[in-house]
Every structure is written in C-alpha cells, then in structure tokens.
C-alpha cells in the first residue's frame, strides 16, 4: 500500500512539471505565431524578387546563381531546439539531415543553431563552422544578418559549394514537417509571367551590383523566416507532447488510486474479519 502511495506521489509531481511545460509552451507559442505573421510579407516579397532576377538574369553572371561544376562540399544550416521533451521534433530534424547527407554523399560542414543541433554535430563528428548561435531563443534578426554575411562570404571564397537549410515547417498546431531547402546557388522556377517581366526591369546601378547587395539580405531573410517557423514548431511539438504526457499521468493516477483504494478496503475487511473472529471465541 505504501508503495502505491509513493508511486502516486511521484506521478503527480511529474504531471505538475508536464502541465507547467505545456502552459509555458502555449504562451510562448502565441508569440511565436505572431512573429511568423509579421515576418511573412518580408519573406514573400524578398523571395519573389530574388527568384525573378535569378530567372531573368541571362544577361549577367553572379557567383550566387551559377551552379558549380564540381560539388566538393555542402554546407548545412541546421535549426533544432535548445531542449528536449518536444516529442519527435529534434529527432525528425536529425533524420532529415541524415537522409539528405546520405543522398548526396559529399563532405559536409554544418552551422548548427540550437543546443540539440550542436550536440548532434559533435556526436556525429561533423565539421562545425561556428557555434555562435547555439541558443535558438536568443538569435535575433541582427544575428541572422551577421550569419548571412558570413555564409555568403564563405560561399564566395569557395569554402563550400552548396548551402542548404534544414528546418521545421510550421503547418498547424498538430503538424510540423522537417524540410531541407537549397539557398545557394539560388534556385529559381520558370514561369510565363516572369518571361514578360525580365526584359523590362531597369536595374540600377547594374543587375550584378543589385544582386550581390541583395543576396546576403535574402539569406538572412530565409534564415530568420525558417527560424521563426522552427521555433513555433518546437513549441507546438512540445505542447502536444506535454499534453499527451499529462493525460497519461492522470490516467495512471486514476489507475493507481483505484488500486490503492482496493488495497485499503481489502485491509479493512481483513481487519474486521479478524476482530469478528476473535469476538466469537
């Protein structure tokens, strides 16, 4: 009986923790969703403009658009969480990166964002570019610009030949998808609408200059957008996981208290039987 009582106590305290984590995650999630909404127009406009120029760029060359002939090294910008207890959030990102690396089979270097990402890279002995951004929650838009300039410089220097970002897409409160997206060289889609446009646009001072000035901006825009998405995903995943954990805990408590009451009742019945038996003699 004492054992059951102890067990109920321990489950109760676990439940308190999971409940608290769930509440913290939901309140942070609200802010994270606001952030996604705020950044979305910026993200969309910059992406659209860049892919339009990249597509219409046939009359100039830029190191940021030309695919390189030989891909010697791939760089990954990996965004994971700072903490565990978020269901499959971190392991999904790890799996995504793993399968991507396997598919391409090239040497890689990683710029991990988030403690779990750093841990993962150290465990796997991957080359780490910088650990400056190891705490997701603290990365500001200014940090994104810094990182983007750094990444663009390294790309031009030829430290790596392709840049991918591995992050988690926030689809809804219940669904988050890990995704890998190519940032450099800049991908572009063909479309009829853009065909008419490309010949007309006037670039000042020149397409190259505009392009090269805007690319770091573009990278940091994508970085910040992906960061917002990942952050919201992490919180949503944690909320769902903690919600399930709290439910399991309350089920367990119910089960255990039933057992406890039965045992108690059993003990009382036994005592009464013993007393009655004693009185009869």
């Amino acid at each position: 009986m004492k054992e059951i009582k102890l067990r109920i106590k321990s489950v109760q305290s676990t439940m308190q923790i999971t409940k608290a984590m769930e509440l913290v995650a939901s309140s942070k999630l609200r802010r994270a969703k606001d952030r996604i909404e705020r950044t979305e127009p910026y993200f969309n406009i910059i992406h659209e403009t860049l892919s339009t120029i990249a597509y219409g760029k046939r009359d100039f060359t830029s190191p940021y658009v030309e695919p390189r002939e030989e891909i010697k090294k791939i760089c990954y910008l990996m965004i994971a969480g700072d903490r565990g207890l978020a269901g499959g959030y971190n392991s999904n990102i790890n799996k995504m990166l793993e399968s991507h690396m396997k598919k391409h089979g090239k040497p890689v270097c990683v710029m991990p964002v988030g403690k779990k990402a750093v841990d993962y890279c150290q465990r796997r002995n991957l080359e780490i570019l910088t650990e400056q951004y190891s705490i997701v929650e603290d990365v500001t838009i200014g940090n994104c610009f810094e990182a983007a300039h750094f990444l663009a410089d390294e790309f031009r220097k030829g430290t790596y030949d392709e840049l991918y970002i591995v992050y988690t897409n926030f689809v809804s409160m219940l669904t988050q998808n890990a995704a890998a997206m190519r940032i450099l060289p800049i991908p572009y889609e063909k479309s009829e609408a853009k065909d008419d446009l490309k010949s007309l646009v006037l670039y000042e001072p020149s397409p190259e200059a505009v392009f090269n000035a805007v690319v770091p901006e573009y990278i940091s825009g994508i970085f910040y957008g992906a960061l917002s998405q990942s952050w919201a995903s992490e919180l949503a995943a944690r909320r769902t996981a903690m919600d399930a954990a709290s439910k399991n805990a309350s089920d367990m408590i119910e089960d255990l208290s039933l057992k406890y009451n039965r045992a108690r009742q059993g003990a009382i019945t036994q005592e009464i039987t013993e007393i009655v038996a004693g009185a009869e003699h």
């Binding site: 406009i45 646009v201 505009v210 805007v214």
Partner: protein, 133 residues
C-alpha cells in the same frame, strides 16, 4: 497628384501599406525619387534618409538602412533591413551607439573585419541621429 501603392516591410513587420504620391530613398548609388507610373525598377538600398509623401500630401521621414526597392506595375515594395520613422528614433540611444563606435575605431589594434563592423555601426548611428533630430 496621382498615387501608387507602396508597401514598406522589414523582418519586424509592415511599416507602411497604402497609397503614396512619392518616395525618396537612398540607394547604393545615390538618392532616387519614385513617382507614380514608374518603369519596372529594382535597386539595392544604402543607408540614409527616406521620405514618404502619402496620398494626402503630408511627408514623413524615416531612417532606412539596407535592403532593396522594387517597382512592378505601379506597385512599389521597399524591403529594408531596418526602417524607423523619425518620431520613433531614440536619439540618445543612437548617440551612445555613435560614441561606442567612435571609441572602437580609435583603438589601434583592430583587425580589418572589426574595423569594418565598427565603421558600419558608426554610419548607422549617424544616419539615425541625422533623421531623428
């Protein structure tokens, strides 16, 4: 005066979304002024003052740093790294940033990258101070 639709966004959100008569911005190549029915156009922005004249003719000033300006179909998009309306600029904070940057630059043992960063900081602070005053 005819108007065009102007959107000003940064990663922090939208700063302007509506009709405007005119916008003047500092590009990497000097100041430009965009009026309605401009030809399709794209340029990268430098650091400097940006003036927006709204549909009723009133002009607002802002400090605009980095980003790009595009014109397509009488739609103007200004995508900035940072954008602050003059009335929202904290001049004393910018002054402090200027002093810090100047102190950094005056140190002898800076490497090229740090010097560049400090100079960029100084320029940003100066832009803010000029617009904020």
């Amino acid at each position: 005066m005819s108007v065009f639709h102007l959107t000003i966004v940064t990663a922090d959100g939208k700063y302007f979304d509506g009709d405007a008569q005119r916008i003047i911005a500092r590009t990497i190549d000097g100041d430009v002024c965009i009026l309605a029915n401009h030809t399709p156009y794209l340029t990268a922005l430098g650091m400097g003052e940006c003036r927006v004249t709204g549909s009723t003719g009133e002009t607002r000033r802002a400090a605009c740093i980095g980003g790009m300006l595009s014109v397509v179909d009488n739609e103007v998009n200004l995508v900035a790294t940072t954008f602050e309306w003059a009335e929202n600029i904290d001049v004393s904070r910018a002054e402090r940033a200027r002093k810090r940057a100047e102190a950094l630059i005056n140190q002898q043992h800076l490497d090229a990258r740090d010097l560049e960063l400090a100079q960029a900081k100084l320029k940003r602070a100066l832009t803010r101070i000029n617009v904020g005053k």
